[in-house]
């Protein structure tokens, strides 16, 4: 028994090393910007860079739009499929798995071909059109995570009884959906939203090929031209991802101690 425990600790230690060392190295590298001393100047430069602020804001706005689109699409669909259309479930689940199978670069390639100037819906002609395309593209990429999260949330509450009770009291479906179902799956939706945020903020492929001033292409540009600032950006990106995941865990734990009923 003790030999296996030693092996387990060893595996854990080596794993921890492999995953923590790059983070430490990145932090250390970022702080090396002034020769001979450790400073946070790289972070300061990055955070006060106008382009950083502009692209980060842009990506945040797009992320919020994506979350809105994703929620509005997924929540009713998951709800109706569970409630009334269980035979559609395999089809819907297959669709939500497609973005995991089809690489993002193929999806955006398809967009560029289908929605360019010579097509019926020339979205790429205008900035706004392209922004819309980008948002829907991100909603597609985030679809598997959003759907899985919401579906799990719906499974945990008895939507059949809730709906019947609401109907008996005279509610129509918008009321049921937005004032009864949605509040009860708050945590699931939030989890999906945070995952979406994490995906959108750092995304490169779609933003780059659609030529939008997003955070991802900005990262790549800085990486090509500067030495120490990219490291600071990597730490910032990691901190954001960590914050998103941490918040998801926090909300999940809150529901465990305070049940919805």
């Amino acid at each position: 028994m003790n030999r296996s425990r030693l092996g387990a600790w060893l595996s854990f230690a080596i794993g921890a090393l492999y995953f923590l060392v790059p983070l430490i190295a990145t932090m250390e590298f970022a702080m090396r910007i002034r020769r001979g001393q450790y400073t946070f100047d790289a972070f300061q430069i990055v955070l006060t860079d106008a382009r950083f602020q502009a692209t980060f804001t842009y990506s945040t706005v797009v992320a919020l739009a994506t979350i809105a689109v994703g929620t509005l699409l997924v929540v009713p669909t998951a709800y109706w499929v569970r409630l009334r259309l269980p035979h559609l479930r395999p089809v819907v689940e297959f669709i939500t798995l497609l973005p995991l199978v089809i690489p993002a670069i193929v999806i955006v390639f398809g967009y560029l071909r289908m929605y360019n100037s010579s097509s019926l819906v020339p979205l790429t002609d205008t900035d706004l059109g392209t922004d819309i395309l980008l948002t829907f593209g991100y909603a597609t990429l985030a679809l598997p995570y959003m759907y899985r999260s919401v579906d799990a949330g719906l499974q945990a509450i008895d939507i059949h009884t809730l709906t019947e009770a609401a109907e008996n009291l005279g509610a129509r479906w918008p009321t049921i959906l937005f004032r009864i179902i949605l509040p009860n799956i708050r945590v699931a939706v939030l989890s999906g939203a945070l995952l979406t945020f994490a995906i959108v903020i750092g995304e490169f492929t779609l933003a780059s090929l659609l030529n939008r001033p997003a955070f991802g292409p900005y990262l790549q540009l800085i990486g090509a031209n500067r030495a120490y600032e990219p490291a600071a950006l990597a730490i910032i990106a990691f901190a954001i991802t960590w914050a998103c995941m941490g918040l998801i865990q926090l909300f999940a734990r809150q529901t465990q101690t305070a049940p919805a009923r």
Partner: protein, 300 residues
């Protein structure tokens, strides 16, 4: 046979007729299907069909034949090798880590820590990951300089280069290993303690338990998740782009260059390239789902 069926309906207070649910339900899901059609299915289908067309729109298999160009074949080969290497590496290390967490008798806080961190690390792929590894194993990276100052060992003079095949594989492992851990943890925890005890009381040794009971139950999960890792690596581009720019010739980067600037001088060839990618990732995912269904059937 739900709870709802047994509920006796209360007398309604108003004369409101019951809304016809089925048509509302279809209407409710319509936006989703429209969205899926417009932004997922049709764009992909457009490309896949285009792979079989020439510039005028006539049916042809020439694009597929042109995939046998040396530069393209080399791109596919390198992509397959990088994906296979990172998938295998991720599978082996991920299995060891997941086993350590589930069977190692470690303190209780290890599991949630590993799960949270794996969730973060598997999402950390992309440009920032490339930067992180440049700062670690790049020419001026922390580990590189530490090895020189402490062990007098310069990995770059020994032939290592982060901006190469193996450098990319090592970088990819950063999100492949956590992905494997996340998939494998529940699978390993599905191995019920009673199976181990039952086999022991029937006289089996630890080795006999693992080879006759545990491994046969778990190998579909192992293989399936390795295939998932493979597909995951094959379609990834941002990390590679951030690390090597467009210098490393893998299929996604080739496709990127083609989309940007038609480097292949043949737009339909780009479609064929995309078709190839989708076929490979599609087959891997299909195999994963088949294997998963098989193992789930036993666990019922």
């Amino acid at each position: 046979m739900t709870q709802a069926d047994e509920v006796v309906p209360l007398p309604t207070l108003t004369a409101r007729p019951r809304m016809s649910m089925p048509s509302w339900a279809w209407l409710g899901t319509a936006p989703f299907f429209l969205f899926a059609l417009l932004f997922l299915i049709l764009p992909t289908a457009y490309l896949l069909v285009g792979a079989f067309q020439d510039v005028e729109g006539h049916f042809t298999l020439e694009n597929l034949a042109n995939l046998s160009q040396p530069s393209i074949v080399s791109a596919y080969t390198i992509s397959l090798q990088v994906s296979a290497a990172s998938a295998l590496g991720g599978a082996v290390v991920g299995s060891l880590l997941a086993s350590a967490v589930v069977f190692g008798g470690l303190p209780r806080w290890i599991r949630p820590t590993v799960v949270t961190f794996s969730g973060v690390a598997s999402n950390f792929a992309g440009i920032p990951l490339a930067f992180a590894f440049l700062a670690t194993l790049g020419r001026a990276g922390l580990v590189t300089t530490l090895l020189i100052t402490v062990f007098d060992f310069n990995i770059y003079s020994a032939g290592f280069n982060l901006l190469s095949f193996w450098g990319l594989v090592i970088t990819y492992l950063y999100f492949q290993i956590p992905l494997m851990v996340l998939i494998l943890l529940p699978a390993l925890e599905g191995l019920k303690r009673e199976w181990r005890e039952a086999s022991e009381i029937l006289g089996a040794s630890r080795w006999q338990y693992w080879s006759w009971v545990a491994f046969p139950i778990i190998w579909p999960s192992l293989l399936g998740s390795t295939l998932l890792l493979f597909a995951n690596a094959f379609g990834a581009i941002a990390t590679a782009y951030g690390l090597t720019g467009s210098s490393l010739n893998i299929v996604p980067i080739l496709l990127y260059a083609q989309i940007r600037g038609d480097v292949l001088h043949n737009p339909n060839l780009g479609y064929a390239l995309a078709l190839g990618m989708v076929v490979i990732t599609g087959l891997s995912n299909l195999a994963y789902m088949v294997l998963r269904r098989r193992s789930e059937r036993w666990m019922r």
